[in-house]
Symmetry: C2
């Protein structure tokens, strides 16, 4: 059994596929801090992929502290890293094998080697990032091999990553999220193919 | 098509399995520097796993420089890293998708993130380390799930990793390899199971 942090995006979908192909019973988890129901897209995608999915409601203070780090630094890296680490720390008390969709070329969120060692040893868990050894081009090839992708036009659909709730929370406290987050295209998995390769 | 550096050991066998499950046509490559025919075990294991295998004969000067680094430092890390990088550089001129069995918890051989970026960009290749996101315990579980393993008693069988030829070459030039390499158990894959999970 492995519990995979799942945003409904291409990367965590590919991570789910790899773990399944390795014989794991994969359960998808989307975290939520009670700001908005940003887990809906992940829920839909989990259904398309055929995996069990659950929402884990975590303490809003994790998100608040993450946002305050983003405001302090003026860019999201530290804040998002903080949130991801806190999420892993919290879930590690409950789940013995935890995974995420972090890729080799991701800058954030990313744990250092020492942080990973520390997490696994303190909590006596296994932490798996199945995409960590794959570069940008390889992941693009694999995603095209296994998934049908649709681009999400900015603002038309709420994605299920940390950014969605961070943005909402920032607006609530009168901050403009566009000052902190670069414009970037998002996409979602709308179908699978070659699943049985 | 992916070309995987293959020693016949558990890690590169698991890397081969993952790549195959991801739909790649996997070819196994064992390098040889002309010191001894250390590729025999890899050849046998490739047959057990059902993969195509070939031996790539590379310039002996790569091994010689690696050994001189080991002698200079008094331990094998730099020398083995040097050899692995040179092997990747050389094969990258010939193969467009290269892989190896490096694990998250391996100290050597290991490329830094910048070295990986540089290799991929200069040579216009993809470099994949499928095990990089998996820790020691997870890899142990996966190996037990898919392979039947036999321990190799020290010195009874020549393994197909760099160490075998390094040790032979050291003896040829009058050095004692046991002064530089720690005693460690080696093992080989003698069968597969649950292949179709």
């Amino acid at each position: 059994m492995v519990y995979l942090l799942f945003s409904g995006g291409k990367d965590s979908s590919l991570a789910a596929l790899i773990l399944k192909k390795l014989g794991y019973d994969v359960k998808l988890i989307t975290v939520n801090f009670g700001v908005i129901d940003s887990y809906k897209l992940a829920e839909e995608t989990a259904k398309i992929l055929g995996f069990e999915h659950r929402v884990e409601y975590l303490d809003k203070s994790i998100l608040e502290e993450g946002v305050s780090l983003i405001l302090k630094h003026g860019y999201p890296a530290e804040g998002i890293n903080y949130i991801h680490k806190k999420v892993l720390e919290t879930l590690a008390d409950k789940y013995k094998v935890l995974a995420d969709g972090i890729r080799r070329d991701d800058k954030v969120p990313k744990l250092t080697y020492s942080e990973i060692q520390s997490l696994e040893m303190r909590k006596n868990i296994q932490y798996i990032s199945p995409l960590l050894g794959f570069g940008h081009k390889t992941i693009k090839d694999l995603i095209n091999r296994f998934f049908i992708i649709e681009e999400i036009k900015s603002g038309t659909k709420i994605t299920s990553d940390y950014e969605a709730e961070i943005r909402s929370y920032m607006k609530m406290i009168g901050e403009d999220p566009n000052k902190y987050f670069p414009e970037h295209k998002q996409s979602r998995v709308v179908g699978v193919r070659n699943w049985e390769v």
